[in-house]
Symmetry: C2
Subunit: 336 residues, 2 copies
DNA sequence: TTTAGAATCATTAACGTTAATGTAACTCGT
DNA sequence: ACGAGTTACATTAACGTTAATGATTCTAAA
């Protein structure tokens, strides 16, 4: 924005001066509008290229009323789950000519509100929201501003809002059933992060599986342990109590546990099932069993719905629940 | 941007009408400018608040010439290293009133160029670039547009450009030395991702350490293995050759290896040292020895330099090399 | 030949904001 | 009581783009 060495950025007027056409003709030519001669279009585009013209999106958006920008609001960009989602969305956005502003709510109502206001201020065409636990307070902001938005991976109970989630409950159920079928009768559910919505649903699913198998609730150890220094103690405790199967909230936490288990020399004492089937730059070649939540497809669906809304789709709210699938790779203890 | 239900977004004119002041006065009041009476400021701000006014950043930036937006261009947002950096930068930006547009280069020249053009188009005030391997081709774009930029974590040889990196070579050296001091004489360097700049420097550092210890180069196994299915074979091969110490390119890859080693039942056969000292939402409680690259401080430094440049700092290019530090947690094989 | 209509470009105004400048009233030292 | 300085606001124009509308030339059908 600042011209360090007095270079002024090339604007339409400059191209107009160079070519002899008016600013408007140049604008329309660069947009390939129909009422500009093809030859003129080509000529102007060539000159624009040579002069290093880059459209000023601020001015363009201000005038046209659409910014071709969307905001993605996640909990934290460093959470591998969100990071993967953001990467997917970046890809979709690039395909469709959108720019992404990513913002963090840190699972905090104030922060989420701030993020939404930032998005509004930047006149984004739509918001892809990974709701915090307090989204009910912040959603009205978007409604009031008239911005289309889609919730992903969680939702707040409201029939009017679009959302795309995966079937968390069934995921928990499948994970539990998998461990049970592998012969485990005392099972721990382990989660670190505060993700109320997901952990509750997964817990419910797990309990459905254990109850179905006649396992008493006392033999299901739901453990929320944010302090990493106590993991070793926790493992020992589980072992003492006869726990042999662990359902970790997500793959990352499963890997975390796996390394702890390994360094504690308990490799053979625990079976492990994760969640998400994360496929990042690091494709873990581990034997981790997991629940595939179809993150990429979920992101795609949410994105497409949002783009549709931006384009004017005013059909009733879309509620998409993605099916989940068990992926067995051996860490459950079943020899294949 | 689209008003679904005919709600029109509140603009300065509306507040002007409501309060009886002119648009300009309202604008200046909302900016807390000095030549507006304090009482008027308070009144106007109150009305603006009540009416749900949100400043239109496009118009504001267009007119004022500064967008209070910066672009962060990384390889991939899903890479935990970048994700952590982005998170840090989000924090700094929020403190200082900036909005972040994050873009991906996918370590590709064309993509990086596209990202830069997108950034220019959005009139960002500055660019924080984590350069790809092809940044020499894309940097001129930023120069030409007159946008301040700072390179982080890598740099291209050019005295005129700001950069902030960590001391990769020393990092490699310390990692190697640490393994050597733990008694290992055959060492593998393992890296998955194509990060030429970093892997080269770390390799050099490692070799400096091994040579210093009189270990022949043939006993240093530099292994670049992007295919995860072959890791088990690789581990066996290392074992057969007598490798006992592994230096992994980054913590993520170290964890990846750790799980593989664990599931292969070779927990006691290999010592492990990582790099980065990643501290994400998931604080790995493992015993992994690593090189602390001070990622957060590095991001902070890069950010501050950038903000300085945006503010007009025209002192000679700043070249910051952050010291690295060994963090021993036991995975090197030394009993503590 | 006339003329409706298409093709191509120009003219004008507007998006919402802020910078630059103008002006009226008020303060104050002399 | 006078001008200089200050305070508090208004007026005007501008950022760079695109939408709406107008104008000219050319084509082709009547």
């Amino acid at each position: 924005m600042r011209a360090t060495k007095g270079q002024k950025r090339v604007v339409l007027q400059d191209i107009a001066n160079e070519t002899g056409y008016t600013v408007n003709t140049v604008s329309r030519a660069l947009q390939n509008k129909s009422d500009i001669a093809k030859s003129t279009c080509a000529y102007i585009q060539e000159v624009a290229d040579k002069m290093g013209y880059v459209r000023n999106n601020l001015a363009s958006s201000l005038r046209s009323g659409r910014s071709r920008t969307i905001a993605v609001i996640v909990g934290e960009a460093s959470n591998p789950f969100y990071a993967t989602m953001i990467d997917s969305i970046h890809g979709f956005a690039e395909e469709t000519g959108y720019t992404v502003i990513s913002l963090c709510s840190r699972d905090d109502a104030k922060q989420e509100q701030k993020a939404i206001i930032t998005a509004i201020s930047h006149q984004v065409d739509g918001i892809l929201l990974f709701p915090s636990n307090y989204a009910t307070q912040t959603i009205p902001l978007m409604r009031q501003a008239g911005i289309p938005f889609v919730m992903a991976s969680r939702y707040t109970e409201h029939p009017d809002y679009d959302y795309v989630v995966c079937d968390e409950e069934t995921g928990g159920y499948l994970a539990g059933k998998h461990l049970i079928e592998a012969g485990h009768r005392k099972i721990a559910f382990y989660y670190v992060m505060e993700v109320t919505y997901s952990s509750e649903h997964r817990t419910n699913g797990l309990l459905r599986a254990t109850r179905e198998a006649g396992i008493p609730d006392e033999d299901v150890y739901i453990t929320h342990r944010p302090d990493p220094s106590q993991i070793d103690a926790m493992l020992k405790q589980w072992k003492a109590k006869g726990v042999t199967g662990i359902f970790a909230f997500c793959d990352i936490e499963a890997w975390q546990l796996a390394t702890c288990i390994a360094s504690a020399g308990m490799c053979d004492d625990f079976a492990l099932v994760g969640f998400d089937n994360i496929q990042s730059v690091i494709s873990f070649p581990s034997s981790l069993c997991t629940i595939d939540g179809q993150m990429h497809a979920l992101a795609r669906a949410a994105y497409n719905i949002l783009i549709g809304r931006i384009a004017g789709d005013s059909t009733p709210a879309k509620h998409v629940v993605f099916p989940v699938q068990l992926v067995c790779r051996g860490s459950c203890g079943i020899k294949k």
